[in-house]
Point group: C2
Chain length 365, copies 2
């Protein structure tokens, strides 16, 4: 509990420091401003040390030298006050609540005109304060997914501690990841590797076939594009338990982006890469090569699929021999396949043949 309090106090202090900076700028006769890295594909760079993609040197600034800019800083000041009080009271809120709550602020100029504006401001505050949204106690709308496997954890809830084993103490639905997974402590485990799975249908197949039990796997359901909570817990599992992480998705460009968001983070949130990305995560499939090797049922690539693949060839995060080869192959065969297409070989093919072969080839088992 005092650990949590300490973290809250630190986040609060950082926010107050930002407001104090505006104040000092005013007092020194300067026009207050906030400087931020430019958040575009051309301004992300690979950081050798942390092995993640971060923002480069290009910056843009929010300055009070225009009415529009001044209003932005006013909103920032109000938001900081709200967040500081929220931390003080040990409460939390969603991004959408913040947007609506601004209607209750006394200065009408400080009300947000739409939710994009308040979302963007919270991201700006994350970047300049080096505190994550979760540590401001801002909850996402999207809930995290579920875990199933040989892991016992302790979650710190508002109603006290809960010790939960992610096989023995949960139903078939698994353990629901809370909005802020940093309230979790890993107690004991028997995990050989973590398997992140895109679709619910495949997650249920693995659980039904007892794959988590047979291979000592923690199955993380990504539920499509993974929520921040899901990416965060995946990173912590890798770093704290020192186990490999493999990602199992459909075989199309949109699913490679899902892998990318687990492994490399996203351009929009490159300031969070060290917090959310698992650069050591490996892609297990469906690879374009698998479509050929296992003769899977496919659909033809659509125009938007082809565009997305070509844009991945230009994306610095996908500029590796492996990805170039696979993407070129896919453009060549003009086909994509879903992970559940493995069922065309029978319901056990994925757990008896496909995954063991791929995991063996990758050196994971």
């Amino acid at each position: 509990m005092s650990q949590t309090k300490l973290k809250d106090d630190l986040a609060r202090e950082r926010l107050i420091d930002l407001a104090a900076e505006f104040y000092d700028q005013f007092e020194g006769g300067e026009v207050p401003e906030m400087t931020l890295p430019t958040r575009t594909k051309s301004n992300i760079e690979y950081d050798e040390e942390s092995k993640v993609w971060k923002y480069g040197d290009r910056t843009s600034s929010r300055s009070a030298n225009s009415v529009r800019g001044a209003r932005k800083l006013l909103k920032a000041a109000y938001t900081i006050e709200f967040l500081a009080r929220q931390l003080d009271e040990g409460r939390s809120s969603t991004l959408r609540e913040l947007y609506y709550l601004s209607e209750s602020w006394d200065s009408e100029e400080a009300h947000f005109s739409d939710q994009d504006e308040s979302n963007q401001l919270v991201e700006d505050l994350e970047i300049v304060s080096h505190v994550t949204r979760e540590d401001f106690h801002m909850r996402p709308e999207e809930s995290g997914a579920t875990l199933m496997g040989p892991l016992k954890l302790r979650e710190q809830t508002r109603r006290g501690e809960r010790e939960i084993h992610c096989q023995e103490d949960v139903g078939e639905g698994g353990y629901q990841i809370p909005n802020n997974p940093d309230t979790i402590e890993f107690l004991e485990h028997d995990i050989d590797f973590v398997l992140c799975v895109e679709t619910g249908g495949m997650r249920d197949r693995l659980v039904e076939n007892g794959f988590d039990d047979a291979y000592n796997v923690l199955v993380v359901h990504l539920k499509g594009q993974p929520a921040r909570a899901t990416r965060r817990i995946t990173k912590r599992l890798h770093d704290e338990l020192d186990v490999p992480v493999v990602v199992f998705t459909d075989g199309d460009p949109w699913s490679y982006r899902i892998f990318g968001s687990v492994a490399y983070g996203s351009i929009k949130s490159a300031h969070l890469s060290e917090y959310l990305a698992t650069p050591e995560a490996e892609f297990i499939g469906i690879q374009p090569q698998d479509i050929v090797d296992y003769d899977l049922p496919t659909d033809p690539l659509s125009d938007s699929d082809i565009n997305a693949l070509q844009s991945e060839l230009d994306d610095p995060r996908f500029m590796t021999d492996y990805w170039e080869e696979q993407i070129e192959l896919q453009l060549d065969i003009g086909k994509k396949a879903e992970q559940q297409a493995l069922a065309s070989r029978g319901l056990d093919f994925v757990t008896d043949t496909y995954l063991p072969e791929r995991l063996d080839a990758m050196g994971v088992i």
Copy 2:
């Protein structure tokens, strides 16, 4: 366990009976066919006794008197064989797996050409056999949502029984509803009413504010348009525990449809109304009247909102004085509001003021 086995055997028998019927038709020199109710808005009727909407008398048939029709019955025969074996082996699969699995069937004529076709066939089989998809062991792709509140339940999993209290034995994320909630038995509870909530943000607000504890509420997260598993467990909670069910959504026509799917079921699955619908469920809000009474922040109605409201006025399920009044009022004011808009009055307004006032007015508390 033997209860489950009995249910599986019954489902299996009903399926085999269907196939036997085709056989008998053949042997009697008739062209085999399958007769189904027509599934359109004009063919649903209110059943006074069960208080749900069901299909009326109009029917259409799938007959083998054309190549296309014969192929449909062939696919039905293969699917029946697959499902019967699945039940025999105590296994399960998703609709998508069934689609892909058909590629492994020896007759190429029996392969499904797309997933719409296999989905439709499974629905047809549900209707003619009077067995639900869940009892065929077909899992949905979409997972159910979560429960939080004073309820202790027992879930029958493949790995044995799990007893779980939906406050004391779960994290802040709550208890994840399994794909087939009929594996759940309710053991003990202290629930005064069930509150179904559309958005994750509001669900988290209620849990953070301890509303489930203060009012003895079971909070069911609908996660937008609710999955079958979520609707099924809501119905069972109402019927078996004899507690009121109230539904709390955004104040727009799409959210009224969410309420409708909990309370009345859907046109597409009127054959399942008795299994999935909770006709006694009441709508708590956001009502158009609340937008006026509580002066909530709003957005203007879009053209598609207006069309959807008008189509609801024509929908037999919404033809009550209450809904006509509310929908007319909304068309009149031209505005809609989200449930999280209540945050404009502060983060506790929803639990301290809005819900208690509405629940009192509805006679629930």
